[in-house]
């Protein structure tokens, strides 16, 4: 490991594999994430993108492979609290991650109580600060989760995740359920937070247009494997793998031919069957910008 002031990756995933019985959900997935960077993971349902995200935050134990957070392996019994300080996750439906009987402010306070023991007054000041940071006032803080709109709940979830000042935020379809005008508000907030705090993002999503706007680098996953990895703009403009092309052709646009993805898919399936070797322009690059 390089010492001194050299910038090191805040997250390194190496050869992650996850099997459920005989089914391989994730196979040989690896990447590095530098501080303040934003990495997208895209693919269809069943591609392994959510399982990968869950492994990163420790909700799922990989069958093999390692996750290194801020220079230290994230594993073992005593490592849970450290991991929670470094990496936090935001889900599509924040309603499921809040205690419905607790005020939003209290839910945001909980990680503070756990990680930073100290006077309650300090904590309350910090909660107000956090809520304000994501655009929520004392009125929203005092409300129950069900009394907030979807966008406000997602803001509250972000405030709670930021409470421990994590180095990495994993966002799993975090804006997928929001109306487009509200989605844009949350995307702007995420961009602002990344700029101000240097938190790195892993953004899991199916919406390529959203991924284009919030990430610098993207992994395209198919059937548990990374089929393409590169600079987001490059991958979306000039996809190397036929599966990435299939995903792009599926996005409606003026003059769109909805029959084309089906043809892409048949070409891709034909490609899958006979050849045992890798290749077909698969981008095996495990690039790190460090």
């Amino acid at each position: 490991m390089s010492g001194g002031d050299a910038i090191r990756p805040v997250l390194t995933a190496t050869a992650l594999t996850k099997r459920f019985g005989s089914f391989t959900a994730v196979e040989d997935v690896g990447f590095t994430l530098m501080p303040g960077a934003s990495l997208g993971i895209v693919g269809e349902s069943g591609s392994g993108k959510t399982t990968t995200a869950r492994i990163l935050v420790g909700l799922e134990r990989p069958t093999s492979g390692t996750v290194v957070l801020d220079g230290e392996p994230a594993a073992g019994g005593g490592a849970r609290r450290r991991r929670a300080r470094l990496i936090q996750m935001i889900f599509q439906d924040p309603y499921g991650s809040f205690d419905p009987r607790q005020s939003v402010a209290r839910s945001v306070e909980e990680p503070l109580r756990l990680h930073f023991p100290g006077p309650a007054a300090d904590r309350h000041r910090r909660v107000a600060e956090l809520l304000d940071r994501v655009g929520l006032g004392p009125r929203e803080g005092a409300a129950l989760p069900r009394d907030l709109s979807g966008g406000q709940r997602q803001r509250a979830a972000i405030a709670r995740a930021l409470a421990v000042e994590p180095r990495v935020l994993v966002l799993d379809e975090a804006v997928a359920a929001l109306d487009v005008s509200v989605q844009a508000q949350i995307l702007a907030l995420l961009e602002e937070l990344r700029r101000d705090t240097g938190t790195a993002y892993v953004f899991v999503g199916h919406d390529l247009a959203v991924v284009r706007h919030v990430t610098d680098e993207v992994l395209v996953m198919r059937r548990g494997r990374v089929v393409e990895h590169g600079d987001t703009e490059r991958v979306l403009r000039d996809p190397h793998h036929p599966y990435t092309r299939l995903l792009l052709d599926s996005v409606p646009s003026p003059g769109w031919d909805p029959g084309r993805p089906a043809r892409d898919r048949r070409a891709l399936d034909a490609l899958d069957t006979p050849t045992p070797t890798t290749g077909h322009g698969e981008d095996q690059c495990r690039s790190s910008n460090g």
Binding site: A184, H206, P252, W256, P258
Partner: protein
Amino acid sequence: MSAAEHGPDDVLTVRGLRMEAGPPGSPVPLLDGVDLRVGRGETVGLVGESGSGKSLTARAALGLFPAGARVSGAVTAAGTEVIGADRAALRGLRRHRVSMVFQDPRAAVNPVRRVGDHLTEALRARGVPRREARDRALDLLERVGIRDPRTAVRRFPHEFSGGMLQRVVIAGALSTGPDLILADEPTTALDVTTQAEVIALLDSLRRERGTGMLFVTHDLDLAAAICDRVHVMYAGRIVEETTGAELLSAPAHPYTRALVAASPSLHGDRGAPVPVAGRPRSLAEAPSGCSFRDRCPAADDACAAAVPAVRRHGGAAVACLRPAAVAL
């Protein structure tokens, strides 16, 4: 809306549709003066955010009103006046002429009955003999791209993936050869790749059979790509009617423009999506006059005076005093 002139080939016309719920003393308004039409073989989009009333409007075409709702106006679907129609007339309409495809296919089929039963049910109810109904079901499954239909009819819904089950639901919606399909976010729960396949399917059926389709979605890119015309709804009213081609390239109403600016795009410059202040409102929460005025950068006192009348603006019909005044 002025553009909703009645044509002889219309499979759906909605004129001045108003709806309110709640006790008569304190009514909760849901829809206010909705006008739209769908011609034969036409795909018409209904776009808007949560609470805009787009699903309510689509369901109204089948006479599916919220319990206790008071409805006025005129809704003519496949030649039947829906408002005030008796149960037999509505049953006939739903059985023969108008089909609906919802977002969640699992909510649309009986989970404990075989897929074949789902497909033959409407046909059998019309008196089609069992064997013929079965052959038609096999035909339909083949048509919607289900491999090995003979095995598929004997399977249960849980044995299908979401995309495949949505194909089954579409096959069921087509079994009666309807004049009109109401598609309420039919692809929202599907992967983009599967969405494209389902859209291609619906589109080929429209072309072959001349079925009219009212397509409800929150996805502007999708509406622009597949619809001949698009209605934009906000807070229980239609605020703009425009062509699919012009929805993204020349939106006129400030709300439509805000939606376009807020949508991240896959093509062109990587300009950041522009947020709209506030959140989408229902009609009950909306301010007087123009419902969008509290979120609109161009609004002033005139906008509060009355609900703006519809006026032509290029190829669009817009309910705004200052169409296209807001910069994109």
